[in-house]
Symmetry: C2
């Protein structure tokens, strides 16, 4: 009923000028949307790749037999050895695909069909949840690798796999910024809807 | 400009009936908002408490000296031994406080001031990000405790601390549902704004 009332007012006189301003606002809004979505795409792709190619082989001194002196042992760290990192890479890959599809849909949806916009906002929100849970998981495991924990007797591994851990940190930072881009996209969409009503 | 045009239409004739329908819709919306917010409050509080009081002391067979037979050793698991669990409890406590404050603000904001509503939606979104990262972190560490990892030589601990791990699972489920409540609050707010404009 309220919407009918509002649309009814469009029959009024100074409509074209106002429509011009609204269109200008929409184009400005779409510009921001495009930039944020493009950044989210690039950052989540970079995060998935940086962790997805992460592998380091090194030599560690290890006491194989307790009574014998320690010997050099070849050890390898790979990203898919840890479930949290697998989840992180998959989450970022999904976010990247969503960013790409939504970018195309946003550009194609020039007339601004509300239904499509709402579906995109919904999935932007899903990406916020997905990426933040991925970052949380990877950060928790990364921190454990960096500091270790005496209570559960989990030794630190970052003193051995130095480069591997640096790449994990880089991927986490990239993914956090990508998550913030999706966060901003949802905030901007809400502000946009708020401004209009 | 557009808002002026819309408000201008309110001078029309059949205004009171339409306002009645709008008010009824708002009350219905506020009802859902109230229920979801109340559930989010209870669930995040429960998650923080269930993990925050988590402590288990048990006896484990451990070989203190390699040449001697293993002896019984008292071992304790506490929630604050692991950073991920501390983050989880703090995140849920923050979400609980936000839910309580926003519940009061929503009830007090009967006239539906847009500014306050937008601030509440923004912080609902922050809670989505915060709770999902907390769940991700706690789940990653919990899964490591349940399965262990041979690659980094982190042994499973849930075979020893059975009850402790069950409480971690319960807290994670509670927090995930709380996070979904905040997620739904953001979706409903977006739909509400969408319907109005």
């Amino acid at each position: 009923m309220e919407s009918q009332q509002k649309s009814g007012s469009n029959i009024g006189g100074i409509e074209s000028g106002e429509r011009g301003v609204a269109t200008a606002n929409k184009i400005k809004m779409q510009g921001w949307d495009f930039v944020l979505r493009f950044l989210a795409l690039g950052l989540s792709l970079a995060a998935a790749v940086v962790l997805g190619v992460n592998k380091e082989t090194t030599t560690v001194l290890e006491s194989v037999v307790p009574t014998q002196p320690p010997v050099n042992v070849r050890a390898t760290a790979k990203w898919h050895y840890l479930s949290a990192f697998v989840f992180f890479v998959v989450a970022n890959a999904i976010a990247c695909v969503h960013a790409a599809i939504s970018l195309v849909l946003t550009l194609a949806n020039g007339r601004g069909k509300k239904g499509i916009s709402m579906v995109i906002i919904f999935f932007d929100l899903v990406m916020v949840a997905l990426l933040f849970s991925g970052v949380g998981a990877a950060f928790a495991i990364g921190l454990m690798g960096y500091r270790g924990n005496t209570h559960v007797a989990w030794n630190k591994v970052c003193n051995v796999f130095d480069r591997f851990c640096h790449q994990v940190v880089a991927a986490i930072i990239l993914s956090t910024v990508a998550a913030l881009m999706f966060f901003l996209l949802v905030v901007l969409a809400a502000l946009n809807l708020h401004k209009k009503h």
